[in-house]
């Protein structure tokens, strides 16, 4: 869980940077260029397979973990543990994961649909897919925006625990560094949630102010 988790966290950094290109007021040209590069660079293509495997392992591992952990306590408590000391995010990693899996399926479904749009020419004149257009259209739907933003909140919660938990699982716990890792994890989860959520919100805001 920890290794795939850290790998996915690194992927999120790349994803956020790419997404932020959408905010550039160039009708999505930069973003499309980036998407095109990502799609056709052979190294990235290999990376995509690895990323896919990363997701698959993380998901399967997670499902197995939740299942075996549920089996470890066949009879549940009548009164739930009221310990206030532990963070609530840590206890909901499984449910968060399920929400994110649903999000991921919808997200990928949309992503792979982009071929239905007419290609646009990039700076060099080659025709590339107009992925940005898809995004702009999608984010005019308030329900979709809400779904996206909520999912990003869940991503934040998931990372909030997952980030520092990954270090703990790898045995990296130290009086000096652990508080820093925890703070970094918190900041990171905030940056990802805020950064990722800002994009649909701004696009949607622009859309409603335009019309």
């Amino acid at each position: 869980m920890s290794l795939t988790g850290i790998f996915l966290i690194l992927f999120l950094v790349e994803h956020l940077i790419g997404n932020l290109l959408l905010l550039k007021s160039d009708g999505g040209a930069a973003f499309n260029e980036f998407a095109h590069f990502m799609k056709h660079n052979p190294l990235i293509m290999v990376g995509e397979v690895v990323l896919f495997l990363g997701f698959i392992f993380h998901i399967i591992d997670g499902i197995m973990l939740v299942r075996s952990n549920n089996n470890a306590r066949p009879v549940k408590y009548a009164v739930q543990n009221k310990s206030k000391v532990t963070s609530w995010t840590s206890k909901l990693m499984g449910p968060f994961g399920i929400i994110l899996l649903i999000f991921l399926i919808i997200h990928l479904y949309d992503f792979f649909r982009y071929k239905y749009f007419a290609p646009v020419a990039n700076m060099e004149g080659t025709d590339i897919s107009d992925l940005a257009q898809l995004v702009y259209i999608k984010f005019t739907d308030p329900l979709y925006v809400a779904f996206y933003v909520i999912s990003m909140l869940v991503v934040g919660f998931h990372i909030h625990h997952g980030f520092q938990s990954a270090f703990q699982t790898l045995g990296l716990n130290h009086k000096k560094y652990t508080p820093f890792i925890k703070a970094l994890g918190f900041c990171f989860s905030v940056v990802i949630t805020v950064g990722m959520s800002l994009i649909p919100l701004i696009i949607y805001y622009k859309h409603i102010t335009l019309h």
């Binding site: 089996n71 470890a72 009879v75 408590y77 206890k91 045995g171 716990n173």
Partner: protein
């Protein structure tokens, strides 16, 4: 004060068991929690009802025998104490208190609040020791041990093996218990010789017993009556990975 107790009653391992309500009156705030149950048990016995069975022995917080989940928390509402050290002044008139046994597949209920914790013994038997026979040992001062290391080993060794960590963990994981012993022996020079095989064997036995996996919620540390730290779990993970990477065992 007068209290209502909701207590898990289960005749034996095969019985399904259920929560039952009892009223106790004239509870003094100076009583310990277990003494309050003694009073209830005396009342039940006089009525010819089988008293509530619960594990307890030293009643001073060190033997690790007492094991009750009180209002959803192992060893009750106060931190860093065992059930037997909990006193009734922590409760107030009219309180409804739920009392349940440790719940884990690896800790099957024997009767009422009594559970079978021999899985812990088997984990220790798998390797929680140094292989030395009695006698023929060099002088105790032959190997100096830095005070800091000895203190850290003592912090881990303070574990009383009560199982509150398992009871508290949403996954019923025994990682804190196992890590306390692994840490103690990994820190001390005496434990170095078998450092790798020890952690592999103990973790394998832990998994075999059916404890859940650690998801780092920290509930174990929060409920541990002896304040055993999560850093021990990190050390266990470190020890485990390094053993797995370098050992011959496939």
């Amino acid at each position: 004060m007068n209290l209502t107790l909701k207590i898990w009653r289960q005749k034996n391992a095969q019985d399904k068991g259920k929560m039952e309500s009892f009223n106790v009156s004239d509870v003094s705030p100076d009583m310990s929690f277990l003494e309050m149950l003694d009073v209830l048990n005396e009342q039940l016995t006089r009525k010819g009802i089988d008293p509530i069975h619960f594990d307890h022995d030293c009643r001073e917080g060190i033997c690790g025998m007492c094991s009750m989940v009180i209002n959803g928390r192992p060893h009750g509402p106060k931190d860093l104490i065992t059930t037997c050290q909990l006193h009734m002044r922590s409760f107030k008139e009219g309180d409804v208190i739920s009392i349940e046994p440790w719940r884990a597949g690896a800790f099957p209920v024997i009767k009422d609040l009594v559970v079978d914790r021999t899985s812990f013994d088997r984990i220790i038997q798998a390797g929680g020791y140094v292989n030395v026979n009695t006698g023929g040992i060099p002088d105790a001062n032959a190997i100096p041990i830095a005070k800091k290391i000895a203190d850290e080993a003592m912090d881990a060794a303070a574990c009383i093996g009560c199982g509150a960590c398992v009871a508290a963990c949403k996954n019923a994981s025994a990682m804190l218990f196992v890590s306390a012993k692994v840490s103690q022996l990994a820190l001390l020079p005496q434990g170095q010789v078998e450092r790798q095989t020890r952690v592999e064997k103990m973790v394998a036995q832990m998994d075999k017993e059916g404890f859940g996996a650690c998801t780092n919620t920290g509930a174990c540390e929060a409920e541990c009556p002896k304040g055993i730290s999560l850093t021990n779990i990190a050390r266990l993970n470190r020890e485990f990975f390094s053993a797995k990477l370098t050992s011959d065992n496939i």
